[in-house]
């Protein structure tokens, strides 16, 4: 047996609320090459739906997004 490698890629989008709180929404299998416009285009859709988790505050916009790639290597110990 040889070592096995697993790579997981996620998109982490940061939502902001009017009580100053923020929250990360993590999405699996993100498309490559996403732009700021792709993310902020969802602001209008999120406004009536997302609320703050501490005070139920109003959503004010997506303020950041980043790709996260995690590579796990399972070492063959045989």
């Amino acid at each position: 047996m040889t070592d096995t490698t697993k790579t997981t890629r996620k998109l982490k989008v940061q939502a902001s609320f009017d009580d100053g709180d923020t929250r990360i929404i993590s999405l699996d299998n993100p498309r490559s090459g996403l732009t700021e416009a792709d993310i902020t285009a969802l602001n209008t859709l999120a406004t009536p739906v997302l609320i703050g988790d501490k005070t139920g505050a109003t959503f004010t916009g997506f303020i950041a997004a980043r790709y996260s790639t995690v590579t796990e290597v399972t070492v063959d110990l045989s």
Binding site: L11, V13, R23, I25, L27, D28, N29, P30, R31, L34, D38, I39, A41, L42, L45, A46, P48, V49, L50, I51, G52, D53, G56
Partner: protein, 161 residues
């Protein structure tokens, strides 16, 4: 009331997956939930599936708690060398009696405590053995059912023999 949005989709390997988005307004419309779910999914390579709104109602457990019980220990009376005092207590849970220095050899506390209203007058605390001249702190502790609080009332007894 907390709500969650559960988005079901299929990835490029054909595997179904569920994404839960917490802290969702419970007053948005179905069309608004669906639009956001589709919008978030458009950032991925997944195929849009279905969206479910899951609401959670939090049960207020504090309303089941009762206030701490009221306890009154009457005056000590001695009959045939045994001291006793009436106990008035409105607890519907456990009631115990103890002496503050119960590790003193010879001290013994009996407590006939009944928790039904019809037998409330039968509540008494007895102290049967003591050391002459010694002061004992006899305590009654009562706890209400479904209450995390308890109440303790202490009364001193000077053993006169």
């Amino acid at each position: 009331m907390n709500a969650q949005l559960k988005l079901t989709s299929t990835n490029t390997s054909g595997k179904s997956m569920t994404k839960t988005i917490s802290d969702i307004s419970p007053t948005a419309t179905s069309a608004q939930y669906k639009a956001l779910a589709q919008g978030l999914n458009s950032l991925t390579t997944n195929t849009y599936g279905r969206t479910d709104l899951v609401t959670t109602i939090n049960v207020d457990t504090e309303s089941t708690n009762k206030p701490a019980p009221t306890i009154t220990i009457g005056e000590w009376t001695k009959v045939n060398g045994v001291y006793s005092a009436d106990v008035t207590c409105d607890s519907d849970g456990a009631i115990t009696a103890s002496a503050g220095d119960a590790n003193y050899a010879g001290i013994y506390v009996e407590c006939y405590i009944k928790t039904t209203d019809a037998q409330s007058l039968a509540k008494k605390v007895f102290v049967t053995v003591g050391e002459i001249g010694h002061t004992y702190n006899v305590a009654i502790t009562a706890t209400e059912t479904n209450n995390y609080d308890y109440k303790t009332v202490t009364k001193q007894l000077v053993w006169e023999g």
